[in-house]
């Protein structure tokens, strides 16, 4: 027996060499409210709307909702319901206690602004049903008893239903009674489940002095094939039925060696859920920052019990139900009625905001490592890129650059001359990114610690004293950014004079902001820690502060918000900051780019990076990437090559590695691998202006930059579950090679119905869409297709850094559709300031017709004195080549030379030399 167990341990030791320690993290069963509310499945909901209380004012419908004892018929508790009609096909439903014992937390910084209202009318009230309509053709049908709310789309079909499964719960706040089982005012026995006033997990006690305050709601999507969203998880993009296992969890956690294909919580939490079918897309945004669990039942999955299917859906096999369970807050849900995928994605960013166009360099290639050891090391890596002729825009410094993990300081032994070091980088157009984490080292004499202690700026523990946790510096405390004074103080820290060595070209990486607390419950802050709340008369005791449980998923966002304000303040609002964050929440796109955290040099993590980033992109956060090469462990040459090739087509493109891995700057691989990496990085630079244009357009239209196929092809069922390929804008289709040792990959080319043409960007060979194809690949091949009918701007003169390419000429790749036409756009500005807000930019359109290729300014009031010009126009898929061409610009006409390549029907217009600073037209004659 002993021998056997030893053998088992040995076997586990081998297979478990890289794996999350699941014991550190709660299951639903171990999370009091999840266990309690998940088990709550009444046959009939206790919640009833009081018809007499109904009131419609402006865009808001309000009413009293009560819970009723189903047997005794007496009222148990009273709630206030608000339903608002909002602009752009959106409704909001809020339900709080009518008179809560203390205010319940309402999430503060997920929404960009107060949402814009729409008109709302009560159009009928009969048979216990109220019907409301907005001005956009959507209706809401409220059944009063039990309460059910149905949202009806343009076609008259029900798109979203709330509380159909009777799982609406708002646990009332109660006074703690000494004796368990005491009666309440009405004489009913109050049952207090175990754990109401305190819970334990792995030696951590959560004091729960407010008792239970959970909320729950079920949401049905009739007719939906799949649901998507609620990042961040390592699972597929499309969500799966969770009833036989754990729900998807949203609780920002620093999960060491996180596992793949899992519903476990990791660093980020964006509680937006989308449903989709060929007919319609809709979605809900669960506006709550507390720990949240989401159950999914997809009735089309084979393993969902058929009796259940019949019971709930009346035999309908196409439907998805979801259920949100949160530890605290109120019920606050936005219903997005689509009806196309792009509509729901936009409706979400209408609420939570878009990413402002990032500084251009941040879309280029980033080189990072934990750690570049000293100034000489930084210099050597910087020079290495030049010696090996690989472009790079930034070098990154991880935590070791600081004086013993005291942020806003430098290790003076290793980084004695940070100003000169930065100047060396910027002399080549490069930037530096340094890490700043939220934990503050508790060390006497450290100015940040002394200031925060003296002024009471730290998050407090349950007893009201400064909370102390353990993180990189050892004993640490955490500034409470909920206090505007703290944020103001922190903003000042980023001023150039307060952080010597920094300049406009030093940008910030905010890590560990879940927050990560090494010795805390689930490696984070205890839920009974106290956060600042604006002082208010009569609000004392438990009402005088928020508990960490209320705000947890939002904490990291308050942090990056402070950083953003600081970086704006340091340049008086002149320069755009670049911030990278690990923790995410609804609205993070307004502040920072995101990476997928501490992954590993394994093929599985390369694969996971694609759905993880698509999921974040649809949740507003397009600026996403993974550590190229994998953070932990050492990648071999093939994995490294494939990761660079994939990363070149993901929005945030950064190589990073753990301090204990072998060094892996590209030139440390063999010459062949080095050449392949160089090629991949150059491809990125050639497309940088295309990326930049996409991010500008995201700022305008709120749509993802990296898109799931079904966003563009919503009627093609095959695309609904494809999450290893995606689109850049509506123009390029990317299918990174994510598999080891393959010589061919399966690839789906959508829009067969419209005979869409797809052009291989390497050869301009055209393929007519026909669904799945097998494509032969070599180690140098990255399958990328340009959609017929599009124009993509490229800059083929790849320099050391993107800033050096500003004046370089464009190559315009025109991929013709079946009608021999194509369209595209380009955005040009200075790449780093907010001058674009004063119309100092060019947003140009390209329109190719067989007679002429036209470049116009979309906004004619805006202009930018670019020195870029057009060096080459490549027209792919040309069947009937023109005989001659001339450029017309500024009243001048210039004849142009062209070369036709018959092998692949490519016409190249040689050196039109048209300036991009003003409109032009190239006219063709046949």
């Amino acid at each position: 027996m002993k021998a056997l167990s030893l053998l088992l341990i040995a076997a586990l030791g081998v297979s478990g060499a890289f794996a999350v320690d699941r014991n550190n993290f709660k299951t639903c069963e171990q999370s009091g409210f999840c266990k309690r509310l998940r088990a709550f499945k009444p046959e009939k909901s206790q919640y009833t709307l009081n018809v007499d209380s109904v009131f419609v004012h402006g865009n808001v419908f309000s009413a009293e909702v009560v819970t009723v004892d189903l047997e005794k018929k007496n009222i148990l508790w009273r709630y206030a319901l608000r339903l608002s009609a909002l602009a752009d096909g959106t409704f909001r439903v809020e339900m709080d206690e009518a008179d809560p014992l203390y205010p319940r937390y309402r999430t503060q910084i997920a929404l960009e602004d107060e949402p814009k209202g729409d008109g709302l009318k009560l159009i009928s009230q009969e048979n216990g049903k109220l019907t409301l309509a907005n001005t956009q053709g959507h209706k809401v049908i409220i059944t009063t008893e039990p309460l059910k709310i149905e949202f009806v789309d343009h076609t008259g079909e029900v798109a979203v239903v709330l509380n159909e499964n009777s799982q609406l719960v708002v646990e009332p706040l109660r006074v703690k009674t000494e004796k368990i089982g005491e009666d309440d005012e009405q004489g009913n026995a109050v049952e207090e489940p175990e754990g109401t006033w305190g819970e334990n997990f792995k030696g951590h006690h959560d004091s729960k002095s407010r008792g239970n305050e959970g909320v729950s709601l079920d949401v049905a999507f009739p007719g939906a094939n799949h649901v998507y969203g609620i990042p961040e998880h390592t699972d597929n993009f499309y969500l799966k039925t969770t009833t036989s296992g754990e729900p998807y969890r949203l609780y920002n956690l620093d999960v060491f060696e996180y596992e793949l294909d899992s519903p476990m919580a990791i660093y980020g939490a964006v509680p937006v859920l989308y449903s989709h079918s060929a007919k319609r897309s809709s979605g809900v945004f669960w506006h709550n920052s507390a720990e949240t669990w989401v159950d999914i039942v997809n009735y089309s999955e084979g393993n969902v019990v058929s009796s259940l299917v019949n019971f709930v859906t009346g035999g309908q096999k196409q439907r998805v139900d979801a259920r949100f369970i949160s530890e605290s807050g109120i019920v606050d849900i936005f219903v997005l009625l689509g009806e196309k995928p792009a509509d729901v994605f936009r409706q979400y960013t209408t609420l939570t905001g878009v990413a402002p166009i990032p500084p251009k360099f941040s879309l280029a290639y980033h080189q990072s490592r934990w750690n570049y050891n000293d100034e000489a090391d930084v210099r050597a890596v910087d020079d290495g890129f030049d010696q090996h002729d690989i472009p790079a825009d930034t070098l990154w410094l991880d935590i070791e650059y600081t004086d013993k993990k005291k942020y806003f300081t430098w290790d003076v032994e290793r980084f004695r001359h940070p100003t000169e070091m930065v100047a060396n980088l910027t002399a080549k157009g490069r930037k530096l990114v340094v890490i700043i984490d939220p934990h503050i080292k508790r060390e006497a004499g450290y100015f940040v610690h002394e200031d925060c202690t003296e002024k009471g700026y730290y998050v407090k523990n349950k007893d009201g004293n400064d909370y102390e946790g353990w993180c990189w510096p050892g004993s640490s405390s955490y500034p409470d950014f909920f206090n505007p004074e703290v944020t103001k103080y922190y903003v000042e820290r980023y001023r150039y004079e307060n952080f010597p060595g920094t300049s406009k070209d030093v940008h910030i990486w905010n890590d560990m902001n879940e927050p990560s607390v090494f010795n805390g419950p689930e490696i984070t802050m205890p839920k009974d820690c106290r956060h600042w709340k604006p002082p208010q008369d009569g609000q004392d005791g438990l009402a005088a502060y928020w508990e960490h449980r209320h705000v947890h998923n939002e904490y990291g966002q308050w942090y990056i918000r402070a950083t953003q304000q600081g970086m704006l303040a340091r340049s008086d609002g002149k320069y755009r900051p670049f911030i990278l964050t690990r923790s995410t929440f609804a609205g993070t796109q307004r502040y920072a780019a995101v990476w997928t955290g501490d992954n590993a040099a394994e093929w599985g993590f390369l694969q996971a990076s694609v759905p993880m980033c698509i999921s974040l992109a649809t949740a507003g956060i397009s600026f996403c990437g993974s550590d190229v090469g994998g953070f932990f462990k050492n990648p071999d040459a093939e994995l490294m090559t494939r990761w660079y090739q994939a990363g070149a087509y993901q929005a945030f493109f950064r190589a990073h590695s753990h301090i204990e891995t072998k060094r892996r700057e590209p030139w440390l691989f063999d010459a062949t691998t080095l050449a392949r990496i160089r090629d991949a990085v150059r491809r990125r630079y050639a497309l940088l202006d295309f990326w930049y244009t996409l991010f500008y357009e995201h700022m305008i239209d709120g749509l993802p930059v990296t898109r799931p196929l079904f966003q563009e092809f919503p009627k093609e069922e095959a695309t609904f579950t494809i999450d290893n390929q995606y689109l850049l804008g509506d123009k390029l289709l990317i299918r990174p090679v994510l598999e080891q040792g393959v010589t061919s990959v399966k690839l789906y080319l959508p829009a067969k119905e419209t005979s869409t043409l797809w052009y291989d960007v390497d050869s301009y060979q055209v393929v007519t869409a026909n669904g799945w194809i097998n494509l032969d690949v070599t180690i140098t091949k990255i399958p990328v297709y340009q959609r017929g009918g599009t124009v993509v701007p490229r800059k083929e003169r790849v320099r050391r850094a993107s800033a050096l390419m500003a004046n370089d000429p464009y190559t315009l790749v025109v991929a013709l559709d079946a009608n021999n036409t194509a369209r595209g756009t380009v955005y040009i500005d200075d790449g780093e300031t907010y001058e674009y807000r004063s119309n100092k930019y060019i947003y140009g359109s390209f329109d190719y017709q067989p007679t002429a290729f036209t470049y116009k300014f979309i906004n004619e009031d805006a202009n930018y004195p670019t020195r870029s010009w057009v060096e080459r126009i490549v027209i792919a898929g040309i069947k009937n080549a023109p005989k001659s061409a001339k450029l017309v610009q500024g009243g001048k006409q210039t004849p142009l030379q062209m070369t036709l390549h018959r092998g692949n029907d490519v016409l190249v217009v040689r050196k039109p030399a048209a300036s991009m600073a003003s409109p032009w037209e190239i006219q063709f004659t046949y």
Partner: protein, 525 residues
Amino acid sequence: MIYSAWIRQLQSLTIVLFTFIISGQTDVPRPRGVSLSKASLYSPTKDFTCFDGTSTIPFSYVNDDYCDCFDGSDEPGTSACLNGVFYCTNAGHRPQNIPSSRVNDGICDCCDGTDEYATPGTCSNVCEELGREARAKAQQLADLHKAGNHLRLELIEKGNKKRSEMAVQLSQLEKDKAEAELIKSEKEALKNELEAKENEALQVYRDAEEKERQRNAEIERQQREKEAREHFDKYDVNSDGTLTIDEIQKALIFDRNKDGEVDQEDILHFFGDKDSVNLEYFISTTWPMLKPLFMTNQGLFQPAVNEEEAEEPEVDEEEEAARDTEDVGGDDDDNIDEIPHDHTDDHDIEPDQSGKYDEETQKLIDEATEARRQLTDAERTVREIESNMRTFQQNLEKDYGPQQEYATLDGQCLEYEDKEYIYKLCLFQKVTQKSKNGGMEVGLGEWGEWAGEEGKKYSVMKYTNGLACWNGPHRMSTVNLNCGLESKLTSVTEPFRCEYKIEFTTPAACDDSNLAQQETSHDEL
């Protein structure tokens, strides 16, 4: 590759325009960015053929800021081709080839500033200044090498001397060894002779001892039998001279499985599968089996626990670990196993049992003991000579540089201190690191080999197979040798995890003939 295959086929015809620049430094006209040696390939009177031969274009297409050649050869003076090369003359300093992506990018790459011609005034010509500095630096280096070369020549002389001395010493050692072996065999013969006498004398005593032993054994046997008989009588309740199962079952003390009774099976085991036993069988077989149990019950006897055995492997591991860490680089490892084994221990005679033997015997014993000691000494001398010889042989086989300039440095140790550690390089031996906060010395590698690039083999030393890093490779060190007037370490870094880089200056690396060669190769002005 960014440029697609169609560029290969690109071919058009247009009017030829002459776009020539005259290089300021020479009279040979050539397109911008072309070196003198390639000037002849760009002839303005002919169409231009790309160097790779894939395409021929009008000469006006050369340097027209549009890439026509797959190999970039048509745009030596612009940034149009991703794979192009721009040549700067850099008069006054060294000429340079830069990637054409650095042309007109706003950064001064050529000291003559010719790479930034699009924005005149961006770069000033600093070649004269840089050239002067570079020449001064080269001169300094040459002076240093020259000065160092004297020391190097001394080192060579000493090195050669040391080697020849070692060779002499080695042959001396060979002689010594032959002599020592002769002595050893003499001593061995003497020892054998004296031991024979000693044995003969001691035989008398041995016989007496044997008798004594037998007598003691007999007494012991009788005691055992008596004890068994007593117990037999105790359990043989009916005193019939036979012990039955019933009788023994009453004696709970023999309950082997401690369940409160003595079960049949146990007794059958003790009784040799018989119902009863007589006294004779009890004494010879049953009692010896029962006695330990009896004693256990009485608390007199503890079953043996194999603790020592269980712990032994751990001890071994520790020892091994200790050996791994402490004995790194010990050349004498091979000898360790040979040192023990003093021959005295095959004899059961305890030498200081004085008084036990008569005077004459004692004298024989003393003589034999002395002979054994002398033999041991003689053997040790042989081993020591052999060990010395091995060291000399190994050193003679070591590569001390092309002219033995490094020979005298063997074993010399140099230290380098940084904030946290003290590093020690013992040349041709090992590299170690010791924390200033204490703790044990960590081996960063043992002498491995010369590892410079081709033609510069003796510029780099590698010390490999140091202490293994946790979860990682064995530590190793690379030592770069530079010319300097004294031997010292100028820096120690760890650019890669567990791979240390040491900068070491020594006059042995000063070679002015080498330097002169390098200098000439740079002169292509």
